[in-house]
Point group: C2
Chain length 126, copies 2
C-alpha cells in the first residue's frame, strides 16, 4: 500500500481525502501560522519543476490516472521519480494504487478546487 504517510490538516475527511477545503482565500484575511504551514505544504509540493510535471502528467492523463511508466520521462532517474511521487502523495495531492504489475496515480479530487479557492481574487475587482 503505497499511501503510507498522511498529514495533519484542518479537516481530514474520513474518505482518504488528505486535503480538505476550509481554507479561506489568501485575499480574505491573513493566514494564521498553522494554516500557513498546512497550505505551504501543498504549494511547496508543486514548487519543484519535476513534481509539477509529474502532477500535470497525471492530472492531464486520460481517465484521470496514469501509470508510473507513462510519466517517468521527466529527465531524472527513475528512483528520483518515485521519490517525487512519494512527496506528492505525502502532500495529499496524489493517490496511488497498485493494480498488478503497475502502480497508477491519480489526483486527489479536492486538491484543485481547494488550491484554486485559495487563489480566489478579491470580490472587488480593484
Amino acid at each position: 500500500m503505497p499511501n503510507s504517510e498522511v498529514l495533519p490538516l484542518p479537516a481530514p475527511a474520513a474518505g482518504g481525502s488528505a486535503v480538505a477545503p476550509g481554507f479561506p482565500p489568501l485575499t480574505e484575511r491573513p493566514l494564521g501560522a498553522g494554516e500557513a504551514e498546512a497550505v505551504a505544504r501543498m504549494f511547496k509540493a508543486l514548487g519543484d519543476p519535476v513534481r509539477l510535471r509529474l502532477f500535470s502528467a497525471v492530472a492531464s492523463h486520460e481517465g484521470g490516472e496514469a501509470c508510473v511508466c507513462d510519466i517517468s520521462d521527466v529527465g531524472v532517474s527513475q528512483p528520483t521519480v518515485s521519490h517525487h511521487l512519494k512527496k506528492l502523495r505525502e502532500a495529499g495531492l496524489l493517490t496511488s494504487e497498485r493494480r498488478g504489475t503497475w502502480v497508477y496515480y491519480r489526483v486527489e479530487p479536492s486538491v484543485l478546487s481547494t488550491m484554486g479557492h485559495l487563489l480566489t481574487p478579491p470580490a472587488t475587482a480593484a
Copy 2:
C-alpha cells in the same frame, strides 16, 4: 527601487507584469520542462509558511497594499521578513514601492488569476 530582479517568463507583458497568463491548466496537458520551471517558481514562492503569510497579509490588506511594518509579525526577525519579501518580488508575486519612510507592497494583479487558471479542474467533472 526595490524591484530589481525580474524573471524569464513566457510572455512578460510590457506593463510591469512579471507573471503572464499563457499557461494552460495543469489538467489540460503535461507541462513542458520550460513551463514547469517557470510555474514552479511561483508555487515555490508560496511554498514557505512565512512567505505565504506575508503574501496573504498583503493580499488581504485594505486598499490592496500593506506597509512592511504592518505585516512583520510572522515570528521571524525583520531581516528575514525582508528576505522573504524579496523572494516574493523576484517571483513576480509582489511589487513594492517606497513612499516616504515606509515601503508598501501589493500583489501583482495577474498573479491570482494566472495561478488559479493553472489549477482549473477538468471540464469533465469525473
